[in-house]
């Protein structure tokens, strides 16, 4: 039998055993382990242990001696491809920062290390230091140094939070804001609306409460605005001749245009609605992000060299094919502005208005016909926004119906609290069944009470209807806010652009290019409905992809 090349992932007893077996059979074996060290005994979980076999220890010594085996520890797979019967992997071995040839296992380093962290090798029992040998059997010393602090790693845009928070502590607000703008142009807006996953991850939270990162970001941006400091515009002296079309002037598109301009590429941004901003402008209520604040930020971004054309809907005012022909690259960031239907009877009646449409009308200053009682369906942040806007608009009573309990609610807890404070009534374990009305105008909503059943695949308990619990709530307005999806009607029929079953574009995650060369996409239209900072992060990465694409084409 000819010699085979075998890669084994996982240095636990099973992986080590398999490596030895393969090597004995004459194969060339590479063993890749993600932890800094191999081995560690385990208790079997596929058979009841007999007398003297309690722990299964991998035979690490035999493994190290075997000429056919190469071991790569502390490694992560970066890239994979398969074809012609060959698997290719790019594997990065993180530097242990300790030279095993020189280390004499004296433990002096462990004694002086000031960092005491939960011992991850021992499932968090006890503590270890940042320099350690991880597995006492192998004594492979290494320094545990992360690429980024946890807040930065959690932030979709990977903002250097530690630096900009530190600069605020030093009182250097301009440097702090500049640090933020290295990766994000929307400090004013994101500082107001972000649900800040970084704060959820913040290590200080395990001690008392997390750092208020989001409000700190807002503080430095506000400082510039309130003190009338001119925001710096840093662009190259000369722009390149290529031009990029950006479809959609939302968080993703404008971020993309900003980073393109900084790299010396002009772009034209097409926006279907009368004003730029996308969901910042038409989705987030005024009381969370005032339009003048947003416009200050957008005008600053545009001043870098992004041309804006509003009231221009692709597929109606300009043909999609013409854009493809006229521009060197195209960025699609049209967002997800189409509300999902409840799929119940009577949904087309007058008085039923989708959450996204309702918020857009409110943000456009339209008459919301705020009379009587309004019911909002859903438990996300859009539902909270719609409810709080309704309350402000003057509805007599505002009710939110949600089919599970408060615990399962996806909205941010502080948004739920604020809504309740404002007197909005949230009813849990209720689902709509039918819109009731007269002459095509709704007068009420038939509902069903629910109870929580068994957990489903997501781990959340599934709501189950209670038989015979139907009841009718009188209401003049119903706002379903149960999710959005992108409206891709601008893509002409027969276009090669591939669309996923969630009605989104799929892109290469490193370049953000779609399957059509030169066409890029990010934001909600690529990820599905998500938070603004993820759209901004995507816009920045897509800008890098576009720049690389244009550079490669020039050669």
């Amino acid at each position: 039998m000819s010699e085979k090349r075998v890669i084994i992932f996982g240095g636990d007893p099973a992986g080590v055993g398999e490596a030895l077996k393969q090597a004995e059979a004459g194969n060339k074996v590479i063993l890749v382990e993600s932890l800094p060290s191999l081995g560690g005994g385990h208790i079997p979980q596929t058979r009841i242990i007999a007398d003297d076999t309690s722990f299964v220890d991998p035979n690490v010594e035999a493994l190290k001696r075997h000429p056919n085996i190469r071991v790569i520890t502390n490694a992560a797979v970066e890239k994979t491809s398969a074809g012609d019967g060959t698997y290719r992997f790019r594997v990065r071995r993180r530097a242990p920062r300790v030279d095993p040839e020189k280390c004499n296992d004296c433990r002096a380093c462990i004694r002086v290390c000031p960092i005491h962290m939960y011992d991850d090798f021992n499932e968090g029992i006890g503590f270890r230091t940042a320099i350690d040998y991880f597995n006492p059997d192998t004594r492979d010393y290494n320094i545990f140094k992360e690429d980024m602090p946890i807040c930065q790693a959690t932030c979709p845009a990977n903002l250097d939070i530690r630096s900009y928070v530190g600069l605020i502590a030093d009182g250097d607000y301009a440097a702090s804001l500049a640090k933020i703008r290295e990766r994000l142009p929307f400090a004013l807006s994101i500082g107001r609306v972000c649900p800040h996953p970084c704060e959820t991850a913040c290590n200080r939270g395990t001690m008392d409460e997390p750092i208020s990162i989001c409000t700190l970001k807002r503080y430095v941006a506000d400082y510039e605005m309130l003190n009338d400091i001119k925001a710096p515009v840093e662009i190259p002296d000369e722009f390149r001749k290529e031009k990029v079309a950006i479809i959609g002037a939302g968080p993703a598109g404008l971020t993309c245009g900003y980073f393109l301009a900084k790299a010396g590429y002009r772009s034209v941004c097409f926006e279907a609605l009368p004003e730029p901003g996308g969901m910042f402008r038409y989705g987030i209520p005024e009381y969370r992000l005032p339009t003048p604040t947003l416009m200050r930020e957008i005008n600053w971004i545009l001043s870098h060299g992004v041309e804006l054309r509003c009231n221009t809907r692709i597929g109606k005012d300009v043909a999609y094919e013409d854009i493809l022909k006229e521009y060197d690259a195209v960025f699609l960031g049209v967002g997800a502005h189409a509300g999902m239907k409840l799929q119940i009877k009577g949904e087309d009646m007058e008085g039923v208005v989708d959450g996204v449409d309702f918020l857009r009308d409110a943000n456009m200053g339209k008459d919301l016909k705020a009379k009587g009682k309004v019911i909002i369906i859903g438990g996300g942040n859009v539902a909270m926004d719609a409810a709080r806007v309704s309350w402000r608009a003057g509805f007599d009573e505002v009710h939110i119906l949600y089919r599970r309990t408060k615990r399962e609610m996806p909205a941010s807890p502080w948004e739920i609290d604020a809504a309740e404070q404002e007197g909005i009534k949230i009813q849990y374990l209720v689902a709509p069944v039918e819109v009731i009305g007269e002459n095509g105008r709704m007068t009420g909503l038939k509902c069903l009470r629910m109870e929580l059943g068994e957990p489903d695949a997501s781990g959340r308990r599934r709501p189950v209807p209670i038989q015979g619990s139907e009841f009718v709530v009188e209401a003049q307005t119903l706002i379903p806010a149960i999710g959005q999806r992108p409206d891709l009607s601008f893509v002409p029929e027969g276009s090669p652009l591939s669309i996923t079953r969630w009605n989104t574009f799929s892109v290469d995650q490193s370049s953000f290019m779609t399957n059509v060369p030169g066409v890029f996409s990010a934001g909600d239209v690529e990820t599905g409905p998500d938070i603004a900072i993820r759209a901004c992060a995507g816009g920045r990465k897509a800008a890098s992809g576009i720049i690389a694409y244009l550079k490669a084409r020039r050669k």
């Binding site: 090349r5 385990h42 058979r47 530097a95 242990p96 545990f144 009182g171 409000t215 009381y287």
Partner: protein
Amino acid sequence: MLYEKKGRYIVEFQDIPKARQHHIEIDVDERRMNNKEVELGFDEERAIKEAKRCLSCRRCLGCALCWAECKPEAIVFDMQDEVFDLEADSVIVSPGVERAVDRVDRKYGLGRELNVITDLQLERMLSDSGPSAGLIIRPLDGDIPSRIAFVQSYASSTAPRMHKAAVIFGVNEAILVKRKLPLAQVTFFAEGLDAVLKEAGATQQSLNGAKVVESPVKGVEGNADGSIQVAFGAGDETAAFDLVVLLTQPQVPRELKDLGKSLGLTLSYASFLVGDGAGVITTEKEAVALAGEV
């Protein structure tokens, strides 16, 4: 070689404010019938106080104390990562164990009661090279427990069952605990345990005298003395234990899922443990196999 610490200084700990600063916001009364911005952010004093709370985490701080202390000069801070491009005709994946602790219901007290631990934590305790050098101890005070309960964190007569592997893992731990602490009272709460044992070619005799209670656990409460009150059975039965070990559900590690996805494979932990997990299981792509347990 010198490691410079540019602009680094040590802040006195008393200077670090304790409480999180809260943003300023307008009253609820001021919000009706208008669109005034509700949250007003921080003033300068709050901003600086809040920014000073940041712990600047990154596990190793680069303080270079270890470097200064290391006589053989084995510590190299600027050691670079290595990147390998590897090729193979065949790929074998040994999934290891990952357990979804965050999915454990709060009623089992994990994270709330110190003396409630997971099966993996007990495994580390039982290991001679573990944090307690093989001693079984109560995390609260380091005492040797005399009443130990094994509880299925998913168990109920209707909810999804624990994976067979989780149950066997727990049984093995109970056997080892009994071996180390022969006088300890070990109780194993499980429904349908006999069937699992039978499949593994064993009986309740194998449990070394651990008591089996055929009932799911309804919840646990901490007592004032640090012991844990376990509620079970059809009525209002309870019993006190010094240490409660939760059996957790095994699942495919995330990085492995990603790997499987990039190779076009669907990996499930169940498929790994099919056929008692012995030997190598080939998945739908011939060249890729899953390694079983030895």
